[in-house]
Amino acid sequence: MNDPVNDLVEVRPGVYRDSVTLMRVSRALTDRPGVAVAVVAMATELNLGLARDLGFAVPPATPGDLLVAVRAASPAELEDAAAELERQLAARAPASGTRGEAPPRTTRSAARAFEASLALVSVPGEHAFAEALDAVEAGLSVMIFSDNMPVEQEILLKDRARAKGVLVMGPDCGTAVVGGAGLGFANVLRPGPVGVVAASGTGAQQVTSLLDLAGVGVSHVLGVGGRDLSAEVGGRSAVQALRALDEDPATELIVLVSKPPAPEVARAVRDLDLATPVVAALLGPGQDDLTTAAEKVLRALGRDVPEWPSWPAPASRPNTAGALRGLYAGGTLCAEAALLAGAGDFTDFGDDSYTRGRAHPMIDPALRLEALRGVASGVVLMDVVLGHGADPDPSSWLAPAICDAVDRGVHVVVAVVGTDGDPQGLRAQAARLNEAGAAVFTSNAAAARHARLLAGG
């Protein structure tokens, strides 16, 4: 039984931190010696239940309160953990503005006090509409990183935005580069002539990272949200973004990255009559893969297509053919790999059903690690996406797990999407994963073909 003396359970009314921040705080506490378990989370039903299941005596609370539940081996260690908790929370308290005034509580209020060019919304999806609408009403373009937004809210926002002459990027928009600033999950890309309109975040990251490796940079990367080119949303943002890039003197060529659009939307996009050439990277059966699309762009610009960097697995291990498991963080990368591999069991851990109430797998590796540890034989194909916003050092947790998998006789193939400018360092990450025993590719398509081969396909 648990000794309640070494339990710290408290509810802090009205204290709010976002889920990623709280995950980091929980992890920092759990990593301390003598701490058995630490739950620092908003007091949602889900989290209260989790704490109760762990045996904590949880007092009543509302989702607007912060729940703290820590169990340590000794009272002294509990006291240390409590002190660390205060440090962590204080370090992650919302920043106040200049002159020490209270920070704004809504996007509307922030827009009044700060001359912004755009807003980045990543609150939980059910609350994202209010913040995004604030931005649009204040005359700001907005990137909605949040997912789980109802489609009617998306349409309404995009219609209001068009009337105001601003762009809604999202919802569920994972990446954008605007005026050199990387938003959301964003690779560090050199400036250049290619403008990107993307209904697929990791798809855009793959294309732009390969272009960067080939020495070609971007003007802007404008995400539009995964549903934008569906019949329902009708390409509202894609059309606006294409027109905007067409007007931009820095953009010489436009790449449209998307799943195949609804036919009427494809027609509308084709009929735009743009002066700037457009290369479409439309993922799907019978379409170019993302790497081929990037190569088309290079040719269109009159540039050479390089050999995409890859690091073959050390050949010392015995081969055991077997089933192919795809463990992906990027949705488009997952779909592309599944298509090219032809067979196998693919999971997109970035799908809404895995991210409700927890952080994206590019930040929180727990679910994917668990899945990797569960593979006993055969071939595992994974992606690692680098850049701002993503895990600061993915190889630190992935390399040991790959080592173990390889020891079990599992083939591990990794597609690393990133650039030399990324804070994690593309080549350093690739090298560490490769040393752990994985075959590493910068082209997801190449990784998938390699995995297919290993699986005997």
Partner: protein
């Protein structure tokens, strides 16, 4: 389409996951972080519907624009019987409608006092019996009759009313004359000295002020309030500057119009730092009323308490009240009184906060932070937090200490639900027991439920 964000330096507002904001910091991208919290529990569905209402943006601009452009003028002082058509046995009271059965101590005390004052009962016991039986008695909310009353806010036919006209939109509003502090009717006292004072106010004070105003002409309250804010009043718990300015404006006319009573009239007004409160309330009422009835608007046009319920009305929702239990103020107590003696929040004086004064203008009145044992910085924090839940900044009512920024004005039900920030209300505290009078003054929070109920109604509309 030219998309302005593609040109020039990116500057980003971030709201949500801190990790994405930190990624911008590492790129040295200038940004402002929103201190976001989840909305009031259960409000998110209604919020989405209210925010999506295509009428909302322009409806709110219209409604708050009317409130801020109102030009309240003090035009006269007249008996309630004449201007409000009150008949014997009819009483108005503060807050949303209430019955004798549900009325709190001070509300009952004030009604008893009004019965005695009107000669409808000879003793307090007789008055109580008649009020309890309801025979020949009609109670109604002041707000239903273009009227506001401080604390119990009881208005009876023989009381004299300040008349305030809106020179911009043509509305009119009324408020009774302020009796002073201590044992007074509005705090539920009904002893002989209370009734005697009311008589004198009806026989001497009211007529003298009426005659003086006829002589000196309408008084521009918008200008007077603007000046008082710059002299350290917030126009709810502190009216010292405004009262002084009022006296300066009308004293010569009082002397000319009522030479026999001038000294006692001016002495009475000078002896009550809150004399202006009632004029300020009528000014706020006429301004807020100008904003009523705009379909789709989520602007609060009245906040009022009857000692039992705290109620609000919203521009886009007609005359419906949305109520929750009135809270007990947190403040300083007079003499030997303490929190146990306090009645729940009472009075229409929250019309001042509704119009961007009172608690919302607290930064203008650092002297009153004593009431809550706080620091001057608390007053500044109270005002600045109200910008989060208001639609606009008042063009005329400015706060010197905030660089002459306009006071936060025009409460948005949707912003209250989004931020969970409730209006800051300064208030007097009435004794729980009928007949006690004032026991203190302080701050009080409205019930969040009144705002979420109004939000639900907007969502259904």
């Amino acid at each position: 389409m030219t998309l302005s964000m593609l040109y020039g330096e990116p500057r980003v507002i971030t709201v949500g996951a801190q990790v994405l904001g930190e990624a911008l910091d590492r790129q040295a991208v200038p940004r402002r972080e929103v201190d976001w919290r989840p909305p009031l529990p259960g409000a998110s569905g209604a919020l989405a519907r209210v925010l999506a209402d295509p009428r909302r943006e322009s409806a709110n601009a219209t409604a708050v624009g009317r409130m801020l452009s109102a030009r309240p003028m003090l035009t006269g002082v007249r008996p309630a019987r004449e201007v409000l058509g009150l008949k014997a046995g009819e009483f108005f009271h503060a807050g949303p409608p209430i019955t004798w059965e549900r009325a709190s101590g001070p509300m009952r005390g004030a009604l008893v006092g009004a019965m005695l004052f009107e000669g409808l009962a000879a003793t307090p016991e007789e008055a109580e019996d008649r009020l309890a039986s309801g025979a020949g008695i009609t109670l109604d909310s002041c707000h239903h009759h273009r009227t506001v009353g401080p604390m119990a806010g009881v208005v009876s036919p023989s009381m004299w009313m300040l008349e305030v006209a809106d020179a911009e939109h043509g509305g009119t509003a009324y408020c009774s004359l302020n009796e002073g502090l201590g044992k007074v009717l509005r705090y539920g006292a009904y002893g002989p000295e209370v009734i005697e004072r009311l008589r004198w106010m009806g026989e001497v004070l009211g007529p003298a002020l009426a005659a003086a105003l006829e002589r000196c002409g309408p008084l521009d309250l918008r200008t007077l309030i603007a000046q008082a804010l710059q002299m350290g009043d917030e126009l709810h718990n502190r009216n010292r500057a405004a009262t002084s300015l009022l006296v300066r404006e009308i004293a010569p006319a009082v002397v000319e119009a009522a030479p026999d009573h001038a000294a006692e009239v001016l002495r009475f007004i000078n002896g009550n730092d809150h004399f202006f409160l009632n004029a300020g309330m009528a000014a706020a009422k006429v301004s807020a009323d100008a904003a009523r009835g705009v379909p789709g608007s989520s602007l609060v046009v009245a906040m009022a308490r009857n000692g039992t319920d705290f109620g609000i009305q919203v521009s886009g929702l007609g005359d419906r009240w949305f109520t929750g239990p009135a809270g007990v103020p947190d403040g300083l107590y007079l003499g030997g009184y303490g929190p146990d003696d306090a009645n729940p929040d009472i009075g229409d004086s929250t019309i001042t906060e509704t119009a961007g004064l009172g608690g919302f203008a607290m930064a203008a009145a650092p002297a009153i932070v004593r009431f809550v044992g706080g620091e001057v910085s608390d007053a500044v924090a109270a005002t600045t937090s109200m910008y989060e839940i208001t639609m606009a900044e008042h063009p005329a009512y400015q706060i010197p200490g905030l660089g002459f920024r306009g006071t936060p004005a025009g409460i948005d039900v949707a912003l209250v639900a989004r931020t969970g920030l409730l209006p800051v209300v300064n208030t007097g505290i009435a004794g729980r027991m009928a007949g006690t009078g004032q026991v203190g003054a302080g701050l009080v929070s409205p019930p969040a439920g009144a705002f979420t109920a109004a939000l639900d109604a907007l969502a259904d509309g």
